[in-house]
Symmetry: C2
Subunit: 731 residues, 2 copies
Amino acid sequence: MPVLAGGLLAALTVAFGTAVAFAPKPRITWEHREVQLLRFHEPGIYNYSALLLSEDQGTLYIGAREAVFAVNALNVSEKQHEVYWRVSEGKRAKCAEKGKSKQTECLNYIRVLQPLSATALYVCGTNAFQPTCDHLNLTSFTFLGRNEDGKGRCPFDPAHSYTSVMVDGELYTGTSYNFLGSEPVISRSSAHSPLRTEYAIPWLNEPKFVFADVIRKSPAEGEDDRVYFFFTEVSVEYEFVFRLQIPRIARVCKGDQGGLRTLQKKWTSFLKAKLICSRRDGSLVFNVLRDVFVLRAPDLKAPVFYALFAPQLNNVGLSAVCAYDLSTAEDVFSHGKYMQSATVEHSHTKWVRYNGPVPRPRPGACIDSETRAANYTSSLNLPDKTLQFVKDHPLMDGSVMPVDNRPRLVKKDVNYTQIVVDRTRALDGTAYDVMFVSTDQGALHKAVSLENTVHLIEETQLFQDFEPVQTLVLSSKKGWGSVYAGSRSGVVQAPLAFCGKHGSCEDCVLARDPYCVWSPSAAACVALPQAEGDARGLIQDMRGDTSVCPAWPPKPSPPPGSSSLSCPGPAAPSSPRSPWLASGAGPSGRSPVALLPPFLRDQAQHVPRMGTFHLFCVPPGPADIRLIWEKDGRALETCVPVQTHMLPDGRAHALSWLRDAIPEGAEYRCSVLSSAGNVTSKVRVAVARAEATHQEHWSRELSAWRAVVGEHSRMMQSWRQAWESCSQDAP
Amino acid sequence: MPVLAGGLLAALTVAFGTAVAFAPKPRITWEHREVQLLRFHEPGIYNYSALLLSEDQGTLYIGAREAVFAVNALNVSEKQHEVYWRVSEGKRAKCAEKGKSKQTECLNYIRVLQPLSATALYVCGTNAFQPTCDHLNLTSFTFLGRNEDGKGRCPFDPAHSYTSVMVDGELYTGTSYNFLGSEPVISRSSAHSPLRTEYAIPWLNEPKFVFADVIRKSPAEGEDDRVYFFFTEVSVEYEFVFRLQIPRIARVCKGDQGGLRTLQKKWTSFLKAKLICSRRDGSLVFNVLRDVFVLRAPDLKAPVFYALFAPQLNNVGLSAVCAYDLSTAEDVFSHGKYMQSATVEHSHTKWVRYNGPVPRPRPGACIDSETRAANYTSSLNLPDKTLQFVKDHPLMDGSVMPVDNRPRLVKKDVNYTQIVVDRTRALDGTAYDVMFVSTDQGALHKAVSLENTVHLIEETQLFQDFEPVQTLVLSSKKGWGSVYAGSRSGVVQAPLAFCGKHGSCEDCVLARDPYCVWSPSAAACVALPQAEGDARGLIQDMRGDTSVCPAWPPKPSPPPGSSSLSCPGPAAPSSPRSPWLASGAGPSGRSPVALLPPFLRDQAQHVPRMGTFHLFCVPPGPADIRLIWEKDGRALETCVPVQTHMLPDGRAHALSWLRDAIPEGAEYRCSVLSSAGNVTSKVRVAVARAEATHQEHWSRELSAWRAVVGEHSRMMQSWRQAWESCSQDAP
């Protein structure tokens, strides 16, 4: 039966969104060996999944499987201390009897690594399904052997989710309470006031815990500190063919003491709300939370949560980052309506907005000056009505929406695992939130929001074995900033930027990296805080406009037979840059050989919208040939590889391939400058309607291949002719 | 905060499914110019979206915008008749006044093209937002000018959805009833008993109609014929952050006369149910219906519906096909429970299963022998209780699940638009349902289910302009089978198979196309029904085992400087195939030049699971070099392009690139056979964990490029040396 073109287009538009802006591929990829990375790996030790940074001490503590290490935070390859916490053979056997794997699951996975005091850490491990906690003395770097029961602080099963934060010496944890993992709990371990959640579906419904942190209030405000928990759980308020996951932000008040009778030793301040991260038109819905980072900065009135998501449904490789103002969340908790469970037809429940009267003091609110003024000085004083209400209504009706009501970043074909964010100032003082997101293939992407788009500055391959990054920690100490990544196999330390890799002012500007500026005095691209001397001379342009760069002496041609990255700026093609130009002849003394055009025009193609394609520019010519790529009349932003080979007759053979992905048709030009003149070849690349299949794309790919091979054939034929004439000359 | 490796893996497993089997890329792609396609296009006429095939008359009727054509069904390029139904200028102006586009929307889009009798068609068009119907006399090929009001039979707006089927001279339609498109309707146009749906959300909730057809019951069964409708609508029973779409199968009974008082002139037999198409683990949910095809065959007890779906959420290019037994649907309607709307907290509704008593006769059931025996001879006799019940309970509780409870085909990176299915018998008598699915880029994919996988036999680029295929029709007349595809720009006719394109027995077997067999007597790959002569000698193996092919004389080497498709079979590398081998010397008389290995080993790489990669085999050698690719010790199934260039010194330069996508690591070998001996180079391609990013893939891509360029450099250096020695010899 027929399909409406209009209807289909409309459907496709809805499917793709009126403004589908998936983040592009990273502009530069740093292969493992290209950049300076420091690594830590202890032979025989795996799962470097707990990282704790002490910037004051300059130490990075690493909780791995059956071991804790202290390494130099400036250089993680320098191990300072180590201590082992192995599971005894007996314990492993006992664990294996319960049906667990002796080689893996029945080992001791460190799950809690928190500061206890200036000289001790609080450490918990799964300990062969017998979760145990201890104190680690930092002076002797030994465990005290306290053997505390870890139930509720640490999961039994290394496969189960967990999160924890130490607040004023007390540990707040979200994890599973039992061996099977069927009883989730958010609890506070405290000598005088331990608290936990109710074991009830409305409170926690098969949660996967992701993150927890404390938000301090200023004492002047008279308000209580809050501890926020982030997790994904099964939704009670939504329904589809299958159970739907829903991301939650939940909070409790630090001063909570539980109730006197109702909610005795239970949270009286536990409230949770939906965290929404989706495109406004509903075409992309990200409802599985992967990680959260709390961005605090002096110039931010309130902290901003950066949350990393994946979709539950139809996830063929999709990730998104949404940012939330803390005040948005607090509004929902402090002023929003509650949800209520209503019974339907005796046996069904539906969660709907509760519009009825709400007891006072407000259920779930922290004890603040207002509450104290009403004579409720502690949660133990709260009236039963309030306590009963919050026990039955932990879920708020309102949703916590992201800043600007849309994601900060949406990327296809990637599974991001962790996120950290550094707020930094560019040269002109503008603040940029630089997002570092790690992938499940061991890479790190660095992205920044620019005007209306997201710019993926670079990708760095941290782990050569492509193992997923399990944890990410940021040290943004000025001038010494690093990102630390933990995986199954080790810890890698990377600088916040690789400014030095940009060899020219143009490259430095085109990178559009807020950390990097061009220093004319040093004639180098350097990290902004480190730039010494005259700050007025520094050059940076976050729009990538290289006209801010001073005119320079020409770059020397690449040495023969070498490969390089050609990152041309908007230099006028009329000023070739070779030092040999004056002579007008090649180095071997023969008359200059004619320049052949690059035959770019043979590569006209249709490409999918935003589908990657290659263009090849293969001009043989004199030794001093230099290629310049242009797109729609402007110099390219990306770097284009060039291979140059010198030939004996003064000719050079250059092969350059350009990779791009475009939303709409564009005209590309490859200009070749040389002493024999300048030649330009151009081609128009059109964008096929909607998204073409990869099959289409690969057909184009092969066509491009054939074009190159054809070009090579022609060259070989011309060489054959030269050969034949030469051999005819020979005796 | 740390991420569990286990948790992440579990999450990824859930996300990707324990057995994520996306259909692979088509094995062969036929470019537009490679194959025999017939096309019809009338200059100035667009939107060839209504196709009606009359196999008896051998005619294909085409309803386009403002025109109806009759073309030869055996060759659509032969126009037989044409008639125009243009909108008058006055009508267009009037339509434009209502805010519509004079150039496009205000024209006459043919939406109904149905057989009325042996000599007439029933035709309706939007007619500048004044839907009108008429009879087309097939003898004179002129419209009678009846100017019937098309409301309810044809939409006003060409962008609105529609479907219709003619049953015993009466038209059953699903479309919108009004100008705005806000009132959906399923209706029967009838002189004596016109019927329509209630205008109520429980009956139809913003539906997008896709397909309708009649299922006849045998008179002996005493049952009524049913008319089924397929559409996607907004779900009342599900809820998420955004409104959820849900595919529906609905049915009415042909004998329905409406009720006497309640449901007067309304359907008394309208029932609908959810159509589910998703992976069993819920990771992929396809809830937008695109097209339906009813497969009828003598060997099928009951018809099978093949339905084509796309996902509403996170659709970055995903399509699925699910097949349904008609009996499954009928069970849900005839024996299943109903859903009931329950009011919650005064203002909300929730749809739940209705468990209470159900009136008799069963609400919504057709009048059958049992009902008649109870004295209800017509719907006009049905008791009010039954009628009131079905008026309030049109939605069944049960879901209609696909055969085997899973999709027949799931494909990434493609948007399928239409489907037809042909049930055919292979040589050994096994029946195969061959699925023809068209894409929104003007291509046609042919797929068949083999054992536990889906085999994408081939892709054919039907439309050079990459326009979406709007409609697909199948003629499976034995020996003359064709697929007809309509798009905005024309109609293309393609054969069901391109058997003749497979030049060898091996290629014919490797194609695994149920239509194609190898005929030794004809020494050709031919379509099965056409194979004449000795059917016992015919060869076919749907597992692709080419050992069924007899041993053959060697294929001649490709001519010099040509490109070809090399599809080697499992020939032993020890028997080279060149006719020049006996001489032991190249054609130019020089001593044979040594064979260089292909340096395949430099291309070791990690690839994403099922991610496409290339391997290049670039061996220079004597003129008679012949390449053979092997994978894991077996000859390849796919065809590998080879470019060969002859050089004056008796050498040849060959360039061959292999494209593949693998689920797990494999070892590839490129063997070069020649008079100078045989050389093999091999490489192992490993599969990176989970899905790697395209970035990773492109890095590998560039590495492979560099390897080729490196190889070329080495060759050029050796030629340079030869040049230098030659030029030194020169005077």
